[in-house]
Symmetry: C2
Subunit: 160 residues, 2 copies
């Protein structure tokens, strides 16, 4: 699998309406990726791929990201065992975003230990008018795994 | 609604494990947003918000994005009528990505006329080993609306 599979971006009609796979990478060489659980539809995480990560994902059928904090290719699950099998790979209209529908072996995708990275919600609209409403609520009550047991002393990828 | 609702980012534990809403904007002042259909779970689009768009979204309970191509706040649906009512607002572990679960009045979210922006798929893994497999397949067979009727001669937001 090599870069030959990427077509040149020649026209809006080609990018939006044709069968050509012509992904757009940003000025850092990255494309954002939304990853959802194939069964539940829940958004598990949002990450990035560079060209090599994208090619490896297509070839392996497993999610390979580019870690912006660690600056390395990141075959998700290689450390934690929580591999993401890609059941469906989608691209958006202007081909600058990827949607992966995955089957997560182990059931969790978040380095904090939760099932989804999106484990907190914020009230909006009428519910946001209370003075106490600018606090997050947890949507998952228990962690699926203990990150210390899985990752040991590896540096936390969260940047302030 | 003003920027007072954003807490300062003080520690990894605070950002990941507390009730503090402390979103991280990138060097361009933007945060990526994943938008899914509240009923079907389908990913409709991926966009960006700046601080003002985020505040307006929270206040209105309707999705307001920042358009990178047009460089303006973009109250989704103001032109097309396809307003996105926010049923749930989630933030991820390191608070650098938003997930909106929305109810789309009119049923479509894509400027090309499809229900979802992600209307094409690419084979991966074993299915990608054919030489013919680097082409996209359409996952929606019909457009929900005619973009010419809805948007008229407005410039297409897709950039090559």
């Amino acid at each position: 699998m090599n870069e030959d599979i990427f077509k040149a971006r020649e026209s809006i009609e080609q990018v939006e309406e044709s069968h050509d796979f012509a992904p757009k990478f940003d000025e850092k060489g990255l494309i954002p990726v939304v990853t959802t659980d194939y069964e539940s539809g829940e958004v598990l995480m949002q990450g990035y791929m560079n060209k090599e990560a994208l090619l490896q994902t297509i070839e392996l059928g497993e999610a390979v990201y580019y870690s912006r904090s660690r600056k390395v290719l990141w075959h998700k699950g290689k450390t934690s065992g929580l591999v993401q099998k890609v059941k469906e790979f989608r691209i958006d209209d202007d081909q600058d975003c990827v949607w992966l529908r995955v089957d997560v072996q182990g059931g969790a995708s978040c380095h904090v230990g939760y099932r989804s990275c999106f484990y907190r919600s914020l009230p909006v609209g009428d519910a946001a008018k209370d003075s106490s409403s600018s606090n997050l609520s947890f949507t998952e009550s228990e962690k699926v795994f203990d990150p210390k047991e899985v990752y040991g002393d590896a540096p936390n990828p969260t940047l302030l």
